[in-house]
Amino acid sequence: MTTLIQEVEPEPDSTLKRWILSDRGATLTAAFLFLVMWQLLTLFAPRVPNPWAVVKIMWIELSGGDYGSVRKGEFWNHYAATLQRYAYGLAIGFTAGVLVGALIGASNIARALISDTVLVLLALPAFVWAFLTTMWFGIGWQAPVLTVAFTAFPFVAVNVAQGVRAITPDLRHMSTAFGVTSVKRFRHLILAGITGYVFAGLRFAMIVSWNGVLLSEWFNGQVGVGFRTRFWFDANRYPGFLGWVISFIIFVVALDRLVLTKLQARAFRWRNSGDELDKDLLATVG
């Protein structure tokens, strides 16, 4: 029996569907749906501030005014204090993570001794460090800085260790066989080999440690985004509370999307290059 199947030319997707399925379209659509759901939620939960109230209070915080006794420019003072602590903490955690990660990746003894400890640290949430550092150091800059450092450290270490292990003995043997100098090996074999993993570790570290700095400032700060968040919470003004938290989330996400993701994609472009196998070239050169 012969079945005749008539060929039907598929119709092209509509412009709207194509836009929604694009990266930018999907991101904007998701943001719009989130705002709609947030607005709907405020109808049923009166204590949840609506998006407009949050924007309004953050505008006052930003531009100055009499709401909450905020002077003009104070927004940036709080932000600068938090960012400074965040940056110092990340720098300490990152440096320690790279060193320990390189050690774990390169030495079996170090891996046996340290890797379990790093895994335990990986499982500790930022708020535990915020509590501990506040108990250890009291009120001051040390607690938020070290909270970020302790939270960031294991994420960097694990990724760097993975990167070092990706440099196979075969590549090291090849370098030995060709008599490649130590300087070249460090630059092209080790440094270039782990760069992508370092960025991956830094991204994870940034994303998981931002709440650590806010929590720590909440507990013991005199200034900072966390302190300001608590100020509005204590004042029973939830738009301010939510506005400060959201503003910092936006900052971290923007930093990740606009800077780190691009740097990581650049550092890892060799890994994705196999997906774009140049078939024309293969056909040309066999």
Binding site: W270, S273, D278
Partner: protein, 250 residues
């Protein structure tokens, strides 16, 4: 024109399991290679062929005996083509070529480009290894080894991971390159046909890492795999292998 002297060379590896016997990869072998010749080392898997090249290149150390690789009395410069290409995946093809070279001058870059061109990879300089097929990667490996202009070129089953068509094409590329450069080559393979097609001399290793035979191939280069003389010689050598009796270890 490199000179290779292997004297009473032995390599033992620790037992793979507790209480087992040591693994005898190479057992007291002696041979010499002198001049611009293409020498193949043939033998079944596990007879110490790759171990021998690793010792010659300094990647591994012998248990006893000695190897010397010299060029006019000085340590010789080595090139190495491995079973897999062993390219740095995060560096472009040209960067991989430059990685093993002594200087980054324009002349050096031009020289590297020349060897890439010889293996038909003119348009791949900025590509990453992941964008190339296995055969193309191996061609980069061959170009890289030749481009350092070695006194001695070590090749460890360079075509064993490739399909038959690609391997055949690369053998032709290799013969052409060798005809132009006339380097001293030590070529490890388990493929007798390949050895007969490429070599001036074949050293046969038997299990346990002992020399079973040392043959001269007196046919003009370049040779085609389809050449009846190559096929006849290959059949003769394979016939000898069927009667292979491993000499007693001393």
């Amino acid at each position: 024109m490199a000179k290779v002297t292997v004297s009473k060379l032995a390599k033992l590896f620790p037992p793979p399991v507790k209480g087992g016997d040591v693994v005898r990869a190479i057992t007291n072998i002696d041979f010499e290679v002198d001049g611009n010749v293409f020498v193949s080392i043939v033998g079944p898997s596990g007879c110490g062929k790759s171990t021998l090249l690793n010792i010659l290149s300094g990647v591994d150390t012998p248990t006893s005996g000695s190897v010397t690789v010299t060029e006019a009395g000085k340590p010789a410069k080595l090139g190495y083509v491995f079973q897999d290409a062993r390219l740095l995946p995060w560096r472009s093809v040209m960067d991989n070529m430059m990685y093993v070279r002594d200087d980054d001058s324009e002349e050096s870059v031009a020289n590297a480009a020349k060897y890439l061109s010889m293996v038909g990879l003119d348009h791949t300089h900025e590509m990453f290894p992941g964008q190339l097929s296995g055969g193309m990667q191996q061609r980069v490996g061959i170009a890289r080894a030749f481009s350092v202009e070695p006194d001695l070129l070590l090749m460890d089953e360079p075509f064993s991971h490739l399909d038959a068509m690609t391997a055949r094409s690369l053998r032709d590329h290799l013969q052409e390159l060798w005809s132009r450069t006339r380097k001293t080559v030590l070529f490890v393979t388990h493929d007798v046909m390949e050895a007969v097609q490429l070599s001036d001399r074949i050293i046969v290793l038997a299990p346990g890492g002992v020399i079973y035979d040392d043959l001269s191939i007196d046919l003009p280069h370049p040779r085609k795999a389809s050449d009846p003389k190559v096929a006849t010689l290959q059949a003769e050598i394979l016939g000898q292998f069927e009667n292979m009796q491993v000499p007693a270890v001393q």
